[in-house]
């Protein structure tokens, strides 16, 4: 990318039940972010609110959130997808040259106030999927998992290993909602079966949370923070809705989005040039599936990579050192939280989950049934 856009700050929160209203969550996180950066709402050029009307229980839900994110009587727009889409929108607004700063404000309260599965249920096609009542978010993920495992001849034990690694990472991350210190693959394998082959601990937990992030132009970034993290590339891709038209053993949306983001960042060999990745794997199988699709892991070698510890915090290419969405999935915020966790790593502020080499990282976000849409960012110092 020719022009530079930086991430200069963020605030995030996640919990099974955050125990406050969405308005107060939005206010607390933005007020905290502004205090961190020493700015007031007048210093924000444009705001992108990212929330889900269906889960908010009211349409055009951003109209209620404007005052709480400081956007009262200001330039504001809305994204109703994953937070990484909102990040792309905000970055493009800065690249337009019209704004020096952009706030992305995302939140989703699907731990305490609404079922996280509902909105996917109502994305279903009304001519077949709804009347048949066979498909839902978990069932679709299970179809994808089975397809992926069968394609490569992987055993279901891979899911337990992936989940145990992620949940152990999540246990060391104070920003995560589901924290299970000492979790083992055996415990994952003994958790309740949801949809074959997916068990409870292979799936994301219902989560409340949010993430607010401030972007700035190159000119402004230096004034606002000492350690700006730069957007080196971004890419998006959307597959067909209908599962019957897709190859569920891989993810075309993830591979295309990653290819675009890497090309923009000048990266030719993702596995060799990316230091670590934060991937929006809502289900255990999606982490190696997306990693393979995005060129971070050799296709067909996922069990070897996990067994060798390549994806661990101290591994060759750590994946989800934050714990990923198995530790928390506040819908609308999850991809943006991946970006925030990446910024922590790139600044060397990830605490006990800090990876060794953190100069260039890949961030993935997804939306829709089986990641119908993927968004990928390459971030660097």
């Amino acid at each position: 990318m020719d022009n530079k856009v930086a991430i200069v700050g963020f605030r995030m929160a996640a919990a099974p039940d955050i125990e406050i209203t969405r308005e107060r969550l939005a206010f607390n996180l933005t007020r905290g972010l502004f205090d961190d950066l020493g700015i007031e709402r007048d210093d924000v050029g444009t705001t992108i609110i990212c929330s889900n009307d269906f889960l908010d229980g009211r349409t055009i839900s951003n109209v209620f959130l404007d005052p709480h994110v400081g956007a009262y009587m200001k330039d504001e727009s809305k994204v109703e997808m994953d937070g990484l889409n909102a990040l792309a929108y905000a970055a493009m607004r800065i690249l337009s040259g019209q704004y020096e700063t952009a706030l992305v404000a995302s939140l989703g309260l699907t731990g305490s106030q609404a079922s996280p599965y509902l909105h996917i249920e109502y994305t279903m096609d009304a001519s077949y999927d709804r009347p048949m009542k066979l498909l839902n978010e978990l069932a679709a993920a299970a179809l994808q998992a089975k397809s992926y495992l069968a394609e490569h001849g992987y055993s279901e034990g891979l899911l337990d290993e992936v989940a145990a690694k992620d949940l152990a990472n999540a246990a060391g991350n104070p920003n995560q909602a589901r924290r299970m210190p000492g979790i083992t693959a055996e415990q994952v394998a003994a958790s309740a079966m949801y949809y074959e082959p997916l068990r409870e601990l292979h799936c994301y937990p219902p989560t409340d949370g949010g993430c607010m992030m401030l972007l700035a132009s190159e000119k402004k970034a230096g004034e606002l923070c000492d350690k700006p993290v730069w957007i080196l590339g971004m890419g998006r891709s959307t597959d067909n809705y209908y599962l019957g038209d897709r190859d569920l053993a891989t993810s075309l949306s993830a591979s295309q989005a990653a290819a675009k983001a890497c090309e923009a960042a000048g990266i030719k060999d993702p596995a060799g040039e990316i230091d670590f990745a934060e991937i929006s794997s809502l289900f255990a199988h999606q982490e190696p599936l997306f990693a393979e699709a995005m060129g971070l892991m050799e296709s067909g070698k996922a069990p070897d990579a996990y067994r060798a510890g390549d994806t661990a915090i101290n591994g060759r290419l750590p994946i989800n050192p934050s714990g990923g969405p198995l530790g928390g999935h506040p819908i609308s915020s999850t991809g943006l939280i991946r970006a925030a966790e990446t910024v922590l790593q790139l600044r060397g502020e990830a605490g006990e989950n800090q990876v060794t080499k953190a100069d260039v990282a890949l961030v993935h976000g997804q939306d829709g049934l089986c990641a119908q849409q993927s968004v990928v960012f390459v971030l660097g110092t």
Binding site: E23, R31, G57, P67, H68, Y72, S112, L118, Y122, S127
Partner: protein, 148 residues
């Protein structure tokens, strides 16, 4: 209907949705109403008074929590006369619904006006709150507005 167009029956079941609302400003207002008072919240920075009080100031983007009593007298800023409910069912009597700026309050609040013929209502008209006979700390305590 054209051959290629079909209808399917469907419902949107939102029964699992809970909705949390901010309680502090509303509680302050309802507690005050038990004593026939209207208590809003004032921004300690810009001085704006809101009723019911929010937990933050929209203008300053800071948390606020300073009680401020508001008069039960005010001025009609705008009004409408309703002849049907939101589903289109006719009302028995036309209903005058003004938005009132109470003295000492910056935000406006909507209610029902009685004791005046619809054709005599006008913007700028002075009104006051008619309190319910038994004050219980509910929104019904502020029964309706009457001309001052």
């Amino acid at each position: 209907m054209m051959e290629e167009t079909r209808e399917v029956q469907g419902t949107w079941d939102l029964s699992t949705l809970k909705f949390r609302i901010e309680g502090v400003g509303l509680r302050r207002m309802l507690d005050g109403m038990k004593e026939g008072k209207l208590i809003g919240t004032k921004c300690h920075k810009c001085g704006t008074v809101y009723l019911p009080g929010p937990f933050n100031c929209r203008k300053c983007h800071i948390a606020i929590n300073e009680p401020a009593e508001v008069s039960d007298h005010g001025e009609i800023m705008t009004f409408t006369i309703g002849y049907a409910d939101v589903r289109g069912n006719p009302l028995e009597e036309p209903r005058v619904a003004p938005v009132v700026k109470l003295d000492g309050c910056d935000s406006w609040i909507m209610g029902v006006l009685q004791g005046v013929k619809p054709e005599d209502v006008h913007v700028g008209m002075r009104v006051k709150v008619q309190w319910a006979e038994n004050l219980t700390g509910s929104l019904q305590d502020m029964a309706y507005y009457v001309p001052e």
